[in-house]
């Protein structure tokens, strides 16, 4: 399991209800179910990944987060998780609002466009950056709204959402982000992980 999921799992208390939005093949859900006794639901747009979840015995709904989160009542989950998909939505703000409506808390991870390798790639090569977390070309990427860790922190603050925890992930290295190191973390982390609440 990738490090990102371990970090997310550590943010989640035992015996809770979790909605994993864009749950992929269900790796995180399976881990949460088996290790933290989590009552887990997944939403996934890809039919083949939905099948993978069913193979694992997970409860998954084929659906599109931008349209289908509406069916869940307010605060019906303790946590709503969104891993590395925010940038792929037409309207990321709407999705964040929905996550914070259906979940008491939300865990959002973003690939950091402020990561030094990304900046260096653009600066030296002058072409759209390709990294481990951003593997696709500009013409076939599903990413529509890339942002940096700084952008996301500014956005969350501007909407008066509470940030419980901000973490910077660089390979296996997890560090806390705070106001004083934000600029630095924005440079050295390729992934930002945030626990937020409305």
């Amino acid at each position: 399991m990738k490090n990102e999921f371990k970090v997310i799992a550590n943010l989640i208390d035992k015996d809770r209800r979790v909605l994993d939005v864009g749950c992929g093949d269900g790796t995180l859900m399976k881990f949460l179910k088996d290790n933290k006794n989590i009552d887990c639901r997944g939403m996934e747009i890809s039919k083949s990944k939905v099948q993978k979840c069913i193979e694992k015995g997970l409860t998954v709904i084929e659906g599109n987060a931008e349209k289908d989160l509406i069916q869940f009542p307010d605060k019906s989950f303790d946590y709503a998780v969104l891993s590395q998909t925010l940038q792929a939505f037409l309207n990321p703000e709407l999705v964040i609002n929905e996550l914070l409506r259906v979940g008491k808390k939300a865990i959002v991870t973003i690939p950091n466009f402020g990561y030094w390798k990304v900046r260096l790639h653009l600066l030296t090569k002058g072409t759209m950056p390709i990294t481990k977390t951003l593997p696709d070309e500009w013409y076939n990427t599903t990413n529509l709204h890339m942002c940096t860790i700084k952008d996301f922190v500014f956005f969350v603050k501007s909407r008066n959402f509470k940030i419980f925890k901000s973490l910077a992930l660089n390979n296996k290295n997890v560090t806390l982000i705070n106001n004083s190191n934000l600029g630095f973390k924005n440079l050295i982390a390729d992934l930002g992980i945030f626990l937020i609440e409305k």
Binding site: K47, Q51, I54, G57, V60, I61, E62, Q71, S76
Partner: protein
């Protein structure tokens, strides 16, 4: 029909009050089972058949000598594995494969019911079938499963008996028959009743058979079970055993010949009055209406784990109608999974060899059984 064949039959002694107000008792439910009930009696799956199905889910249907209607899904090592599960299926009341229906004798008049059989509903069908649980001494079913009208029965069953099924798989169905659904059924009923041989439903007594009307009803319905793309790919404008158009009204096109064949084989195995009654039951089905138009309330008392399946090319019970059930279940935090299966085979996909569909059912059931 089939008097010579001994059908497994449960005679229900207890009176059952139907939605129409009439009370029936000492009535037969014809059923079939596959696999064996284990000692804990925790491996029973109740399968509900669709409009023209019957209790012969898999293997060779002893009446038609053809494969059972769900042979792709049910059987040893199949999606619903009869090496593991004990599958029960019964003919719905109103049907014509041994269960109480319009071809039975009215105990009061001693005449064949015909159109005097009480109008039945999906709720009535499910309540009648519930007697099978007592018959087999099953406290709780592992699963209730069915497609189309079978899916409607699944929904009604869980609503009526919230503690009696661990899992439920409603497939390609709806919680409320739409105007289009009713319209299509009415077309079939009109075809039957317009056949003068129908004789107000008394054709058996008068030794007639409204075969033409029933065949047309089947032909019209059959089109709704397929997709435009599926039809086009299979038949296109191909001609039937001829090189050119004949400028007449014979079956020039393969699709015409195919539909005529479907109609002609159907009348051999199905009763026209049953067709009227069962389509009526489907039209009357509106589970939300039973709960003041709040579908979620239908499932409020249940902990049953749902898995809802629709098909991309099903325009009879399209994905959105299946999704509406998912939405109602999520609104009350029920355990519900949903997948839309890619298939060109239309509504009939649930009866056919659609690997992704069969795989999904198999995995869902097996994992749920393990985790239970």
């Amino acid at each position: 029909m089939n008097k010579e064949l001994k059908l497994k039959t449960l005679f229900v002694q207890k009176p059952l009050e139907l939605d129409c107000g009439k009370i029936i008792q000492n009535f037969p439910i014809a059923y079939e089972t596959y696999g064996s009930l284990n000692e804990k009696k925790d491996n029973a799956v109740l399968a509900f058949h669709a409009l023209t199905g019957d209790q012969f889910v898999t293997g060779t249907n002893p009446i038609t000598k053809k494969d059972g209607w769900w042979s792709y899904a049910v059987g040893p090592n199949k999606a619903i594995d009869t090496n593991k599960y004990f599958v029960i299926c019964s003919n719905v009341i109103g049907g014509c494969m041994g269960s109480y229906g319009p071809s039975h004798q009215d105990p009061d008049t001693k005449k064949i019911f015909g159109a005097n059989f009480p109008v039945i509903t999906i709720n009535d069908m499910v309540n009648a079938q519930y007697n099978l649980l007592e018959h087999f001494g099953i406290e709780k079913l592992f699963s209730v499963v069915g497609g189309s009208m079978g899916g409607m029965q699944v929904l009604q069953f869980v609503s009526n008996f919230p503690n009696k099924a661990i899992t439920a798989i409603p497939i390609a169905c709806t919680y409320s028959h739409s105007a289009q659904n009713i319209a299509l059924n009415e077309l079939g009923r009109q075809a039957i009743t317009a056949d003068t041989n129908w004789s107000e439903g008394n054709y058996t007594i008068e030794n007639k058979n409204p075969n033409k009307g029933l065949a047309v009803a089947r032909m019209a319905a059959h089109i709704t079970y397929l997709s435009k793309k599926g039809l086009q790919e299979k038949f296109g404008r191909k001609l039937q055993e001829r090189d050119d158009l004949k400028f007449g009204f014979d079956a020039d096109f393969q699709i015409e010949s195919y539909l005529r064949y479907q109609g002609s084989v159907f009348v051999d195995r199905f009763d026209a009055n049953s067709y009227l009654y069962i389509t009526r039951a489907m039209d009357y089905f509106d589970l939300a209406k039973q709960f003041n138009n709040n579908l979620s309330d239908a499932f409020k008392k249940t902990k049953t784990k749902f898995f809802i399946i629709s098909f991309t090319s099903d325009w009879l019970y399209p994905t959105q109608e299946n999704k509406d059930i998912v939405i109602a279940l999520n609104a009350i935090g029920a355990d519900v999974g949903f997948v839309e299966i890619e298939s060109d085979k239309g509504h009939d996909s649930f009866l056919l060899d659609v690997p992704d569909f069969l795989k999904a059912i198999k995995n869902f059931l097996n994992k749920s059984y393990l985790n239970n």
